[in-house]
């Protein structure tokens, strides 16, 4: 249109061309993402410096200076020298202690069996579109806890009885968090329903319960469970420390779960329950068949997040002397046989990694579920 005529008709369509070199390829990507402006370039340099500054010592500690094997069998001596990095043979040597705690070695198959059952039941619960979801849910929430308890505790079917103070390690961490979630789900649902009730006494009670536990730190709840519960139970009927801690955790967690579920209930439009009433379903049936299933589906990510928080929080029971994962790591690193300069750090890194693995995995899963829910069932 060099001569600016008002009328113009394109006679020949312009073909789509590849973009100019300067806007594609790795150099363009770097220009765009790393050096798009002077300030950005500076940030890149700072970032690189930070990575180098952090990565080298971490690498040295974890790999370069670390002890990976001990030709003379696993012994603490192998790590007793100045400048030692992580002592991985320590983890190797005490691995079964970290996982199973003080559980009698010849009975460990029981724990493994319990884990196996648990994982098998969880697959249909967590995997999208898996069959048998409902059966698995019933088994997992109603039957599995008892099976697991009898497997762990023994005392029946000629299983040797193993008292709770021999439970420990990652097993105990998982047990505490699973009991926490299995108990707090139904209690939390009841509390959430109660909080929505129009009956003032029920509503008030639920609000007070929820707000009380949400207001206080878990560690005070655990202290309370360990020093105060015994005072409030009749003499001779003493729940052991583990049970008390678990009760404390369940009370605490139910309150959080209630708030999560409430969020889901509030998201269900009123038309749903009205339609259900109009069909002649009673109030309890409406809740059980219509509102609750929908609400729970909405809050799966919230539930997973609560579970992650609970899983991390189980580490606090070490403060009242229960040997969950973190505490077994600490106990092991004060073992005479395993005294070396980095025993504590090595143990913490291991424990931290295990916690991280579980929590990160679950949070990814929750994000995945969230995305799926957004698209699910839509056209």
């Amino acid at each position: 249109m060099a001569d600016r005529s008002l009328t113009y008709v394109r006679t020949e369509m312009a073909e789509a061309l590849p973009p100019p070199k300067s806007t594609t390829g790795i150099s363009a990507w770097m220009r765009e993402n790393l050096f798009s402006s002077p300030a950005n370039s500076l940030l890149t340099i700072v970032g690189l410096a930070l990575i180098i500054w952090l990565a080298i010592p971490i690498w040295n500690f974890l790999v370069a200076d670390a002890v990976f094997s001990d030709p003379e069998g696993l012994r603490g001596e192998a790590c007793r020298f100045e400048g030692v990095g992580a002592c991985w043979i320590f983890i190797q040597a005490r691995f079964s202690f970290f996982i199973y705690g003080f559980y009698p070695p010849e009975e460990i198959w029981r724990i493994n069996l319990m884990f196996l059952i648990g994982v098998i039941l969880m697959i249909p619960l967590l995997a999208p579109r898996a069959p048998f979801t409902r059966t698995a849910a019933v088994l997992f929430f109603l039957v599995f806890p008892f099976v697991a308890f009898f497997l762990m505790a023994g005392g029946i079917l000629s299983l040797e009885s193993v008292p709770t103070n021999r439970w420990g390690g990652l097993t105990l961490t998982l047990i505490i968090s699973l009991i926490g979630i299995i108990v707090s789900m139904p209690v939390g649902i009841l509390l959430a329903l109660g909080r929505q009730s129009r009956l003032p006494v029920i509503k008030g009670f639920c609000i007070a319960f929820i707000e009380l536990w949400r207001a206080v730190p878990l560690i005070t709840v655990l202290f309370m469970a360990s020093v105060m519960f015994p005072l409030f139970t009749p003499q001779g009927m003493q729940p052991d420390v583990l049970l008390r801690a678990i009760i404390g955790i369940c009370l605490f967690e139910s309150a959080y779960m209630a708030e999560v579920v409430r969020g889901g209930l509030q998201a269900i439009p009123r038309g749903q329950s009205e339609a259900s009433f109009a069909l002649g379903l009673s109030k309890p049936k409406t809740v059980a068949l219509i509102t609750l299933p929908q609400a729970l589906k909405h809050v799966i990510p919230g539930i997973v997040n609560t579970f992650i928080a609970l899983f991390k929080d189980t580490s606090l029971v070490s403060i009242i002397g229960i040997f969950e994962l973190l505490n077994t790591v600490r106990a092991a690193s004060s073992d005479i046989a395993w005294q070396f300069p980095t025993d504590a750090v090595t143990g913490y890194i291991f424990a931290g990694f295990v916690f991280w693995l579980f929590c990160f995995g679950m949070s990814r899963y929750s994000i995945y579920m969230e995305n799926r829910l957004h698209t699910g069932h839509r056209r």
């Binding site: 439009p269 038309g271 749903q272 009205e274 339609a275 259900s276 009433f277 109009a278 069909l279 002649g280 379903l281 009673s282 049936k285 068949l289 219509i290 299933p293 929908q294 589906k297 069932h377 839509r378 056209r379």
Partner: protein, 263 residues
Amino acid sequence: MTTAMEAPQADRSRMAVSETDVAVEIIGMNKWFADFHVLRDINLKVMNGERIVIAGPSGSGKSTLIRCINRLEEHQDGQIIVDGVELTNDLKRIDEVRREVGMVFQHFNLFPHLTILQNLTLAPIWVRGTPKAEAEESAMKYLERVKIPEQANKYPGQLSGGQQQRVAIARSLCMNPKIMLFDEPTSALDPEMIKEVLDVMVKLAEDGMTMICVTHEMGFARQVANRVIFMDQGQIIEQNEPEEFFSNPQHERTKLFLSQILH
């Protein structure tokens, strides 16, 4: 006031209305939302097999009135007698009435977590205690009647609005209701879909169902209603048979209203 008996259209001949056969009777009913007097002195008698259309401007209390009939709303004064049962605070009676009264909502209110078939069989199974196989069989029958049997295993979110509303109608029918209530069943739909829903409703009317419809579809009212009731400010202003109502409205407000909606 003309009764449904004298309704002129030919296609109504199949129905059998007898004076003694009262489906719904409302006597001197009043209702308040807090201090707001939303329904005032409502008197209404609907015979079995009658088809009533309720019209009126927005906020006039149409929805509230039909929601009172199956006790989704509580009335404070007067009597509502449905299928011979008076609605009171008695939960048992309410359940009884709700079983006999189907309701279709403006926004369908299908249960999104259940398949179409599950939506349909839910109430028969849990309320009537029908065996599952039997419930599913009759559900499929009703789905065929609303012309979407092939969608039985989809979820509501996968259907169009018109299809959803037809499912909602089928869902109510599965309970074999004696009376059907419709609250603006087509007003959330695109024009093409309105027709498919109205067709189903017309068919229902032809089969002799007692129906009370809140709707602004005047064509539908003309075609199937025995009576049109016009409400304003919580009161029944005027009622008449459709021909008369449209051609010769009596009340000032009715005239104004009709002039607005029939352009």
